[in-house]
């Protein structure tokens, strides 16, 4: 059972992401209203499906006249990066009851993966309950922002590009905090080059998943080639 102080410290940790989610969630809700979502639907969709990239794609693809099946397949490909996050988090789920694992796992996003993975890796008493509080706090801010966006429509205008860069900054901070071994540098370089290649091939949101997979595979191959497996 978490104390009130524990919950407050988890929410404080989630705060930068919550603020960014509010600023990006409102325009996302505005777009969802444009394709037929009621505010309640926008809230529930955001609270359950809970994917910024996926939800923006839903509105964009529908407005572009994309058939429903194509939309679902395209968005599912972008979703595949969640497999990587889930795999990376699995070592920290040892001895945790499965319902708790599912409750935590169902709400992992790019941002909450970053926060929680860093804290799990620090091995400073971080646990699934605290990680779930971070996830729920972020999810509620996202879903509420979508509800507001769907309710008020385009009355509110936010500088989305500036707010989005707040999220990029969070990712940069999480990346900088990684352990920079020679192997990690190689993984990062191959990943960045792969994302660039995917972008040039206009692969859009799939670039993240494809770039990361290329980086991980190249890292393993290069470690084997350079004889660094035992280090």
């Amino acid at each position: 059972m978490l104390s009130r102080d524990d919950i407050a410290s988890c929410v404080a940790l989630a705060l930068p992401v919550m603020v960014a989610y509010v600023s990006i969630g409102i325009p996302c809700g505005v777009m969802e209203a444009q394709i037929g979502f009621s505010p309640l639907m926008a809230f529930l969709f955001s609270a359950t499906y809970y994917s910024g990239a996926g939800q923006f794609m839903v509105s964009n693809l529908w407005l572009a006249g994309t058939p429903l099946v194509t939309m679902i397949l395209s968005i599912s490909l972008v979703t595949a990066r969640q497999l990587l996050y889930s795999t990376a988090l699995s070592p920290y789920m040892e001895c945790v009851p499965t319902p708790k694992v599912l409750r935590f796992g169902a709400l992992v996003t790019d941002e909450t993966f970053g926060i929680n993975f860093s804290r799990f890796a620090a091995r400073d008493g971080w646990n699934v309950d605290k990680a779930t509080v971070v996830n729920v706090a972020c999810m509620l801010s996202w879903a509420t922002a979508n509800l507001i966006g769907a309710a008020v429509g385009s009355v509110i205008s936010l500088p989305v590009d500036i707010m989005s860069f707040g999220m990029t900054s969070v990712f940069i901070c999480l990346l900088a905090g990684q352990s920079w071994t020679p192997s990690a540098v190689r993984v990062a370089l191959v990943t960045a080059a792969s994302v660039l290649a995917c972008k040039l091939m206009v692969l859009g949101g799939s670039s993240i998943f494809l770039g990361a997979v290329a980086g991980v595979l190249a890292g393993v191959a290069l470690d084997a080639l350079l004889g660094e497996e035992q280090r």
Partner: protein, 108 residues
């Protein structure tokens, strides 16, 4: 506009895929002792994932046609955020400085 039936169908399909991706590896690999090679591979996922997320945000080919400004604003802002990250390690400071620098650089 999407009909309610279309929204429900899309919602169910996307949610099923999302929950499968988010939960199946967590539950399947939970508590398993992984072979060293697999463990090293899994260990490299965070660096790859964060690099991919940052690169995806910074590399925007559609802005390249707008001259050096479209490329430089995010890159310079990212460089300053990196310095703040190395100095403070604080997510909040990085987000605040990042948005501030990006806003200022966009105005110049």
């Amino acid at each position: 506009m999407m009909s309610t039936a279309q929204i429900m169908l899309m919602w169910a399909a996307l949610l099923a895929v999302m929950l499968a991706c988010r939960c199946i590896p967590l539950v399947m690999l939970q508590g398993r002792v992984l072979p060293p090679r697999v463990e090293r591979t899994v260990g490299s996922i965070p660096v790859a994932a964060f690099t991919a997320l940052v690169a995806n945000d910074l590399i925007q080919p559609d802005t390249w046609g707008q001259g050096p400004r479209g490329v430089l604003v995010p890159l310079v802002s990212a460089g300053i955020v990196l310095l703040v990250a190395r100095k403070t390690g604080s997510l909040i400071w990085c987000a605040v400085v990042g948005m501030g620098v990006y806003a200022l650089a966009s105005l110049l």
